[in-house]
Symmetry: C2
Subunit: 320 residues, 2 copies
């Protein structure tokens, strides 16, 4: 395979675009969390990013990197999550249309959120085949550019800008850890952090119930993610060619965590730091709790991926 991987300077270039549109999010730390986990954590809080998730970085880099000619027919993707909202907002900020393909059974609240950012939604039956067929039809009808949620060079470079800001604020980290689903965030993180200082360890964290990245790296083959059951609903997807290539060559390891660990970690951050983080963002915190040997006494940057939570179905109390 001959895949062109992004390098450090590509993330720096992405930042010249992303910084014009995205929030510079704070890096927070907490003495009480540090003392409980026996390490020094620096949380890069992408829950305070536009649309409530890091996805806006990649989407804005992709949308604003297009030429006017490319952009004039708009952009399109299939997603029911944060990438759809991020792409819709980035497109509306550029003044071009966005077309989002969503499964018919997506929650009404998600459809409304994406519509609220100005996207045109096309519903399709909830199968992979229907999704791809609908996506192809929309592209043909509209001429819009397809922006994949993570199998996209520009998207990965955009996601890496969270680490650029993190290391600007806190250059002497020992470790950076990020959650891994499709691998866009982890790939961008690796590209920037390893270019900045190859001695900084970079780990991915994923639910043991959705451990396709862990198994893919172990067995040197990309496993599909087969309807995993996890509360971390942002990490249901599997690696693609590009993210596998980056992660398999650069990552220091994938750490898997239990569902109870995810809920405990989410509770710890909500209670002690008074910030709302989504379950996917609690996965790296859970990894620090469940694999303390890697983190004890270290300075650890944690990419908090987002804060979009359904307050009507919170998990607290279930594990008491």
């Amino acid at each position: 395979m001959n895949i062109i991987q992004p390098v450090f300077d590509d993330v720096v270039r992405a930042y010249s675009i992303v910084k014009k549109h995205a929030n510079r999010t704070p890096v927070l730390h907490s003495q009480s969390v540090n003392s409980i986990l026996d390490s020094s954590l620096f949380l890069k809080c992408e829950n305070f990013q536009k649309v409530g998730a890091f996805k806006f970085r990649g989407a804005s880099n992709a949308v604003f990197s297009l030429t006017d000619e490319e952009a004039r027919h708009g952009v399109t993707t299939h997603s029911s999550g944060n990438h759809a909202a991020a792409l819709a907002l980035a497109a509306s900020m550029r003044g071009v249309p966005s077309y989002i393909v969503m499964p018919e059974n997506a929650p009404v609240i998600k459809k409304k959120a994406v519509e609220g950012y100005g996207a045109k939604i096309t519903l399709c039956p909830p199968t992979q085949k229907d999704r791809e067929a609908t996506q192809a039809r929309i592209q043909e009808e509209t001429g819009a550019v397809f922006i994949h949620p993570y199998n996209n060079f520009k998207v990965i470079c955009g996601q890496g800008t969270a680490s650029l800001e993190l290391l600007e604020d806190k250059p002497d980290l020992d470790i950076v850890i990020a959650p891994v689903g499709g691998g866009g965030l982890l790939s961008g993180t690796l590209t920037y952090v390893k270019g900045f200082n190859p001695n900084i360890k970079v780990y991915g964290a994923e639910p043991i119930n959705a451990d396709d990245a862990f198994r893919s790296l172990r067995d040197k083959t990309i496993y599909p993610s087969e309807s995993p059951k996890t509360i971390a609903d942002g990490l249901l997807t599997s690696l693609c060619d590009l993210t596998y290539a980056i992660i398999s060559t650069k990552c220091d390891g994938i750490l898997t965590v239990s569902e109870k660990g995810i809920v405990d970690a989410m509770r710890l951050i909500w209670e002690r730091m008074k910030i709302v983080i989504e379950p996917s963002s609690a996965v790296p915190i859970a990894a620090i709790m469940e694999h303390p040997q890697y983190f004890k006494g270290k300075k650890v940057g944690v990419i908090i991926s987002g804060g979009n939570v359904d307050l009507d179905s919170l998990p607290f109390g279930k594990y008491l």
Copy 2:
């Protein structure tokens, strides 16, 4: 009645003490919240304060204003809430003991929190008479100084320092609003804000189910708070001589809010701003939602009193 009320300079003096010990909390704003509420809100986020609440300001001012001679036998109070935790932490930072009287039926989690900050807890039967008798006995036995949660000059001045920082960050506010329970926070807020600029309106906000401050001001008499039923568990107490004197002469009005309004406001802030605020802190936001005529188009400082929430008994979903 001849009550000595604090003035502007007393809060400035308090700040020279408080700023050495308390966090400088951020002032946050949100375009989406502003557009929903049709006004410009600036949230002074005391949920990020030590012990998770503004109470640490008053407690630290009271504890660190004592002479060494006064402080050597420690401090004491009766409280099962944020004031107890704040006093315990301030005492431990000064290196003196703290004695907290708590009702036997206080939740175990609250006892543990206060113990965690280093206090000695004395339990008593849950009646006003037993509480006062136990408190008197502890004072006699230990020689500790009693620090009332709000009927205390130094405590009120300490609470006013939240407004000092708010107006340092954002001097051109039209309105400041704070919740009112016993009235310590609102009294400190009024003392500073009206001294800073008497043209800034200052409102108190309280649950309609615990509207003793509203009725007290209306009828010019201090009503007791009679076992009110509200989710805003920080606002169950009633005004005292000192806070009544300040609030009745300086406050532009008390706005009451519904229980549904409190939950809706709390949800709005959690969802849109990704920060955890406690129900009492949602009361001023609910006032802005339910009394929009006062706030439309205005620049409004909101004192977010704290973020201590029991995640196992959240109210979301009940009002859908």
